[in-house]
C-alpha cells in the first residue's frame, strides 16, 4: 500500500511539469497557434524563478517572476507568429533556442563563480491518513486542468478560442477579433508554461542548472498530442508519462531485471502509436499553425 502511494506521489511530481506544459501547448494550439516552444518557455521561467528567489528571498515572488517571464516569452512567440505571420514552427524554435542560450548565458554571467541556493522549495501537503506528501504545485496543476476544461467548453472566451482555432474566417465574419483572441490564448499558454517552469525552481529544486528542464517540455508536447488537444485527455497522458517515469524508479529499486531504457521509451512509443492512428484519431485543430 505504502509502495503504491509512494508511486502515486512520484507520478504526480513527474506529471506536474508535463501537465502544465501540455496545458500551455493546448491553450495556444486550440486557438490555432502551434506551440512547440514549451521547453524554452519553461526553462526561461525556471531561471526567472531562481533569480527572483535568490534576489528577493521570497518563493512566492519567484513564482510570479516565473509566470511573468513565461508570458513575456509567449508574447514574443505571439508577435512573431500572429502579427508577423512567421512560420510558427520556426518562431517556436526561436523561443527554444533563445530560452536555452539566454538562460545559460545569464547563469554564467551572474552566477558563474558562486551559485547560491534558493531559500528552500515549495512545500508538500500530506495526504490525509498516509505518510505520503503531494507537492502544492501538483495540486495546482490539477485545478488548472479542470479550469481549462471548463473554460474552453463553457465560456464565451473558450468558444472564441476554439472558433479561431478551427475556422478563423468564420469567426471573423461573426465579428470575433481573431488576432486578439489568439494573442490572449498564447499569453495564457505562456503563463501556464511559466508555472511549469516554477515547478522546477523554486518549486522542486533549490538551484538552477542550464538545460534543467531536460526535455519535459517536449514530453508535454507529446502529452498534448496523445491527449488529442483536450485538457482531460492531455492530463491523462501526462499522468501516464509521469507514471512511466515513476515506474522506472520503482522497478530499479526492487532490482527488477528489465532494461529501463525500454520503459523510458514508452511515452514516445505510445505517442507514435497514437500519431499513426492506431488508437483513434488525434486530429489537431483545423487551423493549427495557419496564420490569419
Amino acid at each position: 500500500m505504502n509502495l503504491l502511494l509512494s508511486l502515486l506521489a512520484t507520478t504526480l511530481t513527474f506529471a506536474t511539469p508535463i501537465t502544465l506544459g501540455a496545458m500551455s501547448g493546448l491553450a495556444c494550439e486550440r486557438a490555432g497557434v502551434v506551440n512547440i516552444a514549451i521547453e524554452g518557455m519553461m526553462l526561461s521561467a525556471a531561471f526567472a524563478g531562481f533569480w527572483a528567489a535568490v534576489t528577493t528571498g521570497n518563493l512566492y515572488i519567484a513564482i510570479v517572476a516565473a509566470i511573468v517571464v513565461g508570458v513575456l516569452m509567449s508574447a514574443l512567440h505571439a508577435a512573431l507568429a500572429i502579427t508577423c505571420k512567421v512560420d510558427q514552427i520556426i518562431s517556436s524554435t526561436v523561443i527554444n533556442i533563445l530560452g536555452f542560450g539566454l538562460t545559460s548565458y545569464l547563469y554564467g554571467q551572474w552566477y558563474a563563480r558562486n551559485a547560491p541556493d534558493t531559500p528552500g522549495t515549495l512545500p508538500s501537503v500530506p495526504l490525509p491518513g498516509t505518510s505520503v506528501t503531494i507537492r502544492v504545485l501538483a495540486l495546482v496543476a490539477i485545478a488548472i486542468v479542470l479550469a481549462l476544461h471548463f473554460v474552453l467548453k463553457n465560456t464565451a472566451w473558450g468558444l472564441r478560442v476554439r472558433a479561431v482555432g478551427e475556422h478563423p474566417r468564420a469567426a471573423d465574419t461573426v465579428g470575433i477579433n481573431v488576432r486578439r483572441v489568439r494573442y490572449s490564448a498564447v499569453l495564457v499558454g505562456g503563463a501556464l508554461a511559466g508555472l511549469g517552469g516554477a515547478h522546477f525552481v523554486p518549486g522542486y529544486v533549490p538551484s538552477f542548472s542550464p538545460g534543467m528542464t531536460a526535455g519535459y517540455g517536449f514530453i508535454a508536447l507529446a502529452a498534448m498530442i496523445f491527449g488529442k488537444w483536450r485538457p482531460l485527455g492531455a492530463w491523462a497522458a501526462a499522468l501516464f508519462f509521469g507514471f512511466t517515469l515513476a515506474l522506472q524508479i520503482t522497478l530499479q529499486t526492487y532490482n527488477v531485471p528489465i532494461d529501463t531504457r525500454l520503459i523510458g521509451a514508452l511515452p514516445y512509443l505510445a505517442t507514435l502509436i497514437v500519431l499513426a492512428g492506431f488508437v483513434g484519431r488525434s486530429t489537431p485543430p483545423a487551423a493549427d499553425g495557419v496564420p490569419y
Partner: protein, 361 residues
C-alpha cells in the same frame, strides 16, 4: 489523406524542432579569463609563466562538482605558479573539439579537458598539436593510444564509492541504503555506484541496497536533471532507505536536495567528487560525507610537472578518499573512523579489492 499528411508533417516538424533545440546549444562559447589572484606568482618556480586553458565538460565551472574542482586545480596553479589561466564552458557535446581548438589557436602551453566524454576530442587535439601538453581529467588512455604530450588523470572511483558504502553500512539504522547516479554508460559514474554497492556488501551483507542509474535518457540530459535525482531519492526514502548517495552532476545534486527536504526524518546523504558540504549549502544539515576524487591536487600537480619540466605522459592515478563529516561528526564513532582509515590504506595498497572492473562488462 490530407489529414494523414498533416499529422506526419507535424511529427517530422516536432522532431526537427527537438533537434534544433539541441543544436541551439552549440556556439557562443568564448574563453573567459579569470582575474589574476592577489599575490600572483609568489610560488613560481621560475621559468616562463604557463598559459593554462581549461575546457569543461557540458556544464559550468561552478557545477559544484566535477568541472569546479578541476577548475580549482588551475586556479591553484595561478596562485602558486603564476600561470595565466582561462576556461571555456562547453554548452554542447558537439563543441568539444571547437572549444579545445580555441586554446590551440591561441598557443596555450597546457590544455586541461574535463570529463570522460571529451576524451576522444582531447586525443585528436593532442595528436594534432604535439607542442602543447594536454591533461585529460577522468580520461583513461587506452594502450596503444598513448601520446608523449597527453596525460590522463584518472581516479579509482570504485575505491571512493567503496569507502562511502562501507561508512554508510556502518551508520545506517534502517539497514537500507540508496544510490542515485546519472548513468551507467559513463564508466566513472558506474564505478562509483558499483564500488558503493561492493563496499556495503562487504561491510554488512544484511543491508538492503537500492541503486538507480538515470540511463533512460541520453547523455545530453542525464547529468542535468536534478528534478529526477530528487524524485528518485525521495522514492528511496519512502522505501526505507535512510542514507542516499548521489552522484553525477546536477542529477546527483538533486538527490542531495531530496535528502535536505527530509531532514526532519533523520535521513542523510553522501556527496560525490568534491566535498559537497562546501558546495550544496541546502544539504549541509544532512551530508554525512562525500566520496571524493582529489581532483584539485591531481590537476595542480600535473600542471606543476609541466612547469618543472617533469611532465610524465600516460595514465596518472590520483588519490581518492572521504570528505570530512562536518555536522554528522557525532554519528561516526572513533571505531568507524579507524576502520575507514584502515580500508583507505588497504584499498590503496591493494590488500582490499573492490572487484569492480574498469568498465561495465
Amino acid at each position: 489523406m490530407e489529414r494523414f499528411v498533416k499529422r506526419r508533417e507535424f511529427l517530422a516538424l516536432s522532431l526537427a524542432a527537438t533537434l534544433s533545440a539541441t543544436l541551439a546549444a552549440c556556439g557562443a562559447a568564448t574563453p573567459t579569463a579569470t582575474p589574476p589572484a592577489a599575490g600572483g606568482a609568489a610560488g613560481s618556480t621560475g621559468g616562463k609563466k604557463l598559459k593554462v586553458g581549461l575546457v569543461t565538460d557540458v556544464g559550468s565551472v561552478n557545477d559544484k562538482s566535477f568541472n569546479q574542482s578541476s577548475y580549482e586545480g588551475i586556479v591553484r596553479a595561478q596562485k602558486e605558479l603564476g600561470s595565466e589561466i582561462k576556461y571555456v564552458e562547453t554548452k554542447d557535446a558537439k563543441d568539444y573539439s571547437k572549444n579545445i581548438d580555441q586554446f590551440v589557436q591561441e598557443k596555450y602551453d597546457v590544455i586541461v579537458t574535463v570529463g570522460f566524454a571529451i576524451g576522444e576530442a582531447t586525443l585528436a587535439a593532442a595528436k594534432a598539436s604535439p607542442s602543447i601538453k594536454f591533461i585529460g581529467v577522468d580520461q583513461f588512455i587506452a594502450s596503444g593510444a598513448e601520446l608523449p604530450n597527453l596525460a590522463g588523470l584518472t581516479f579509482e572511483e570504485d575505491k571512493a564509492g567503496y569507502l562511502a558504502g562501507a561508512l554508510a553500512a556502518m551508520v545506517t539504522k534502517t539497514k537500507n541504503l540508496g544510490g542515485v547516479f546519472a548513468t551507467d554508460t559513463v564508466p566513472p559514474v558506474w564505478r562509483f555506484g558499483e564500488g558503493y554497492r561492493a563496499g556495503i556488501k562487504a561491510t554488512d551483507p544484511s543491508v538492503q541496497i537500492q541503486i538507480i542509474y538515470h540511463s533512460d535518457v541520453g547523455l545530453d540530459k542525464t547529468f542535468t536533471d536534478p528534478a529526477w535525482g530528487k524524485a528518485t531519492a525521495l522514492a528511496m526514502f519512502d522505501k526505507g532507505a535512510d542514507i542516499v548517495f548521489g552522484g553525477g552532476g546536477n542529477t546527483g545534486n538533486g538527490a542531495l536536495a531530496g535528502a535536505a527536504e527530509r531532514k526532519d526524518k533523520g535521513v542523510l546523504c553522501i556527496g560525490v567528487d568534491t566535498d559537497q558540504y562546501e558546495t550544496v549549502t541546502e544539504a549541509q544539515p544532512v551530508i554525512l560525507t562525500s566520496a571524493i576524487k582529489l581532483l584539485t591536487p591531481g590537476v595542480f600537480n600535473l600542471v606543476k610537472a609541466v612547469q618543472d619540466n617533469a611532465f610524465k605522459s600516460g595514465n596518472v592515478v590520483g588519490d581518492v578518499g572521504l570528505a570530512p563529516f562536518h555536522q554528522q561528526e557525532s554519528k561516526v564513532t572513533a571505531e568507524m573512523k579507524a576502520r575507514i582509515d584502515k580500508l583507505t590504506a588497504d584499498l590503496k595498497s591493494g590488500a582490499v579489492k573492490t572487484g569492480v572492473p574498469p568498465v561495465k562488462p
